[in-house]
């Protein structure tokens, strides 16, 4: 019997919780050329991109989201060196990185904070742990953009 033949009060399969904690998400992917890229999601219905991926598209409300390798080069929108934290060692630097096709990610930012600037080009650092790390891109990389 198809589950949809059952009345609502007997269809738990329709509303199983999204198991969005626990497993470490796969945050970095490799392109066929071996380049590391941010791993996120893309909505099959409205083409909205997001990182990390999620079960429902905040743009259109759909669930037709597939994994998508995004980009490794982005722009540093803003950043701060954090000197107080109840949970981790300080100082550390975080910033918002804008990737092409309208994706913003919060990431750890490597490099001398005194040398960082808003709007500079940053590149994904491959060996991420449980988050993303970006660092200022080289001159050639900036030209690529």
């Amino acid at each position: 019997m198809d589950t949809h033949d059952k009345p609502a009060g007997e269809r738990p399969d329709d509303t199983m919780p999204n198991l969005d904690l626990g497993e470490t998400e796969r945050l970095v992917a490799r392109t066929p050329l071996g380049e590391h890229t941010v791993m996120g999601g893309e909505c099959g219905d409205c083409s909205a991109r997001m990182a990390p991926s999620r079960p429902v598209c905040p743009n259109c409300g759909g669930t037709n989201i597939h994994p998508a390798a995004l980009d490794s080069l982005g722009t540093l929108y803003s950043f701060s060196v954090v000197h107080v934290s109840a949970t981790r060692e300080v100082p550390y630097t975080i910033g918002y990185v804008d990737l092409p096709k309208n994706v913003r990610v919060l990431a750890a930012i490597d490099g001398d904070p005194a040398e960082l600037r808003c709007d500079q080009v940053v590149r994904l650092v491959p060996d991420t742990g449980d988050g993303w790390r970006f660092a200022p891109a080289s001159v050639e990389e900036k030209d690529m953009r």
């Binding site: 059952k6 009345p7 609502a8 009060g9 007997e10 269809r11 738990p12 329709d14 509303t15 199983m16 919780p17 999204n18 198991l19 969005d20 904690l21 626990g22 497993e23 999620r54 079960p55 429902v56 598209c57 905040p58 743009n59 259109c60 409300g61 669930t63």
Partner: protein, 380 residues
């Protein structure tokens, strides 16, 4: 002008350790909106009940669905959090403040890793060693002292709850037990045993509440909200009759008056059976029987599936589960399914009137901190 319940959904209650609050609540919210026939853009306000979700629980849920820009109110009222959110939504809709409201009830008790729920250590009685099962255990002891009842009567509540829960695929516990098995399970707070206490789990439920005008235009079936009552307890520094919880008496009396409904006319009741003793005491407080007749009412079968007024057809908090802030909303979803003929194997035939009741919170000097009673009628 009445408010109407247009749709409802919940997740199966249980230990969903790897789901966040949004992970728990997003699926039933999506289904409730889908089944309402409305869209995300129609939602004018969100009321989210919870006890342990932390900051901005409602926003963390609805932003994942792209719902934003509208008022989102997070309400915590211990076990009545979810039902208080229902009440706030009904009030806003009845007053014409909002036309379509989304209600969420959610809690994740597995975050505490077992044991009794964390109470507020500022409370004097909590510092003296009070835990929720002990409060109910003292009620149970006094009940056995004053009434013509035995521990087997208490256990019979759990037996009924589990029997009902067996037919509910959303219930956390779907395994039957005999009176002997209930009494033989390990002691939690004497005289209450493990099977007489609701299990620890996670849950989420959602409702779409709409105005009468909207309901009529849509032409769907649903529930008319006949009464939606919230009260807090009244403190005393002296004697209190633990078998006459004034907060539930008070709330129920007001609900029956507002709804112009007689308890005899109820087809089903989802009441706050967090512990077996609670169901017996609340039979009396809700007027399902006269004071002193609760054990007899249970023994008569009138509150079991097939009886005159089925109490906790879902399995209740004892079998369906009791993720604190979720329960008040999940009760309404259960009522919704029965009053719209969607309850399947556990359907109460021709159910027309339902009452839901949830109360809770241990604070010294009070029966409970909050109590909520709703009465619903089948509508189309």
């Amino acid at each position: 002008m009445s408010a109407y319940i247009l749709s409802g959904a919940m997740i199966p209650m249980g230990k969903h350790t790897n789901a966040s609050y949004a992970g728990l609540a997003v699926p039933p919210v999506r289904r409730a909106i889908r089944e309402s026939g409305l869209s995300r853009a129609d939602i004018g306000a969100v009321y989210c009940g919870h006890a342990f979700g932390g900051m901005l629980t409602g926003q963390r849920i609805v932003k994942d669905l792209g719902i934003g820009g509208v008022p989102v109110v997070n309400i915590d009222n211990a076990c009545s959090g979810g039902a208080s959110a229902v009440q706030a939504a009904c009030q806003a809709v009845e007053a014409g403040i909002v036309d379509v409201a989304l209600v969420i009830g959610v809690d994740k008790l597995t975050q505490f890793g077992g044991g009794t729920l964390p109470l507020v250590t500022e409370d004097w009685e909590v510092r003296q060693g009070m835990v929720m099962p002990a409060l109910y255990a003292m009620r149970a002891r006094r009940y056995l002292h004053e009434r013509d009842a035995t521990p087997a009567d208490l256990a019979a509540v759990a037996v009924k709850a589990r029997r009902h829960g067996m037919t509910n695929p959303f219930a956390q516990i779907r395994k039957a037990a005999t009176v002997e098995e209930v009494l033989a399970s390990r002691v939690i707070c004497d005289p209450l045993t493990l099977f007489q206490c609701c299990p620890t789990g996670d849950g989420a439920a959602a409702l779409v509440v709409v105005s009468e005008g909207r309901f009529r235009r849509l032409g769907k079936s649903g529930l008319r909200v006949r009464a939606s009552v919230l009260h807090s307890g009244t403190a005393t520094t002296g004697f209190r009759d633990m078998l006459r919880p004034e907060i539930t008496y008070h709330s129920a009396a007001e609900a029956y008056e507002v709804a112009e409904v007689d308890p005899k006319d109820l087809d089903l009741v989802e009441l706050h059976d967090a512990f077996t003793i609670a169901e017996l005491v609340y039979y009396e407080a809700l007027g399902l029987c006269k004071p002193g007749h609760s054990a007899a009412l249970l023994r008569s079968g009138a509150t079991s599936q097939g009886g005159r007024t089925v109490v906790n057809p879902s399995g209740g908090l004892l079998a369906k589960g009791h993720p604190v802030g979720c329960s008040g909303v999940a009760q309404v979803v259960e009522a919704f399914w029965h009053l719209t003929d969607q309850a399947g194997a556990r359907q109460i035939p021709n159910a027309r009137l339902a009452l839901t009741h949830v109360t809770g919170g241990g604070i010294s000097g009070l029966d409970h901190g909050a109590c909520t009673v709703h009465i619903f009628e089948r509508a189309s």
